[in-house]
Symmetry: C2
Subunit: 114 residues, 2 copies
DNA sequence: TTGACACGAAACCAAATGGTGTTATATAAT
DNA sequence: ATTATATAACACCATTTGGTTTCGTGTCAA
């Protein structure tokens, strides 16, 4: 049931700074489009479009409340990103340990600091 | 030297599937453009462009070897992504624990149909 | 019921993106 | 010295993206 048939990729969704800011904003509370728009220097329609991209990626949820549409964060798809990044983690960690090793070797026997 | 004055954002760099595949390919070995191109259904020029985007984001390093240009992975900028995602981690974890709680509660008087 | 409001949809536009082929240049091989 | 090769740089094109304004519709309030 997961990220199949999603029109927008999670990676693509979070590529835009405005959309990242949107997610950050919706962390705490569900918000209607107009209130959301107040936080951005662009039209309501533009914000709405970004929200739709996020929605397509499964990162926000819409709820109709009277004539308003409330959006809220749906963080689960970010797990895919976390997983993807974690694959590369060992490589920079490895580099760190190589560097550490190098420093320690340079340091010779002048005392192993942590 | 951090991500200041980088022409391309890390988030934007990893948004493209081709570029993610490129990173994956360069994990193990430094490679010249021609060899890299063999793995992709597009022209060498196109691959080269993607490599430049990655380079702008600091995700790959170029090394001139005779008339060849070798590219290799430079994973460090991904730390920014990891950090960004980790902020949201607690939210899906929280949801999980809420769900767990719910299930356990339901379980108590387990008469619930459906 | 009339009007104001919140929103989505559509038409439109400029700029960025992802691709192409061509050309120029430095290096390698003969 | 000449030729072949690897690549960057360039010019170009189609599509996508991020934004706009306008318009229609459903909902709330008077």
């Amino acid at each position: 049931m997961p990220e199949v048939s999603r029109k927008h990729d999670v990676f693509q969704a979070i590529a835009d700074p405005t959309r990242r800011k949107l997610l950050r904003l919706l962390v705490n509370e569900e918000m209607p489009v107009n209130s959301i728009t107040e936080h951005f220097p662009m039209s309501r329609t533009a914000v709405s479009k970004h929200l739709h991209v996020l929605s397509d990626a499964g990162l926000v949820k819409e709820r109709k409340v009277g004539r308003e549409t409330h959006y809220s964060l749906q963080p689960e798809p970010l797990q895919e990103v976390k997983q993807w990044v974690s694959y590369y983690e060992r490589f920079w960690e490895n580099k760190l340990s190589v560097l550490k090793n190098y420093i320690e070797t340079e340091d010779k026997d002048s005392g192993e600091s942590n």
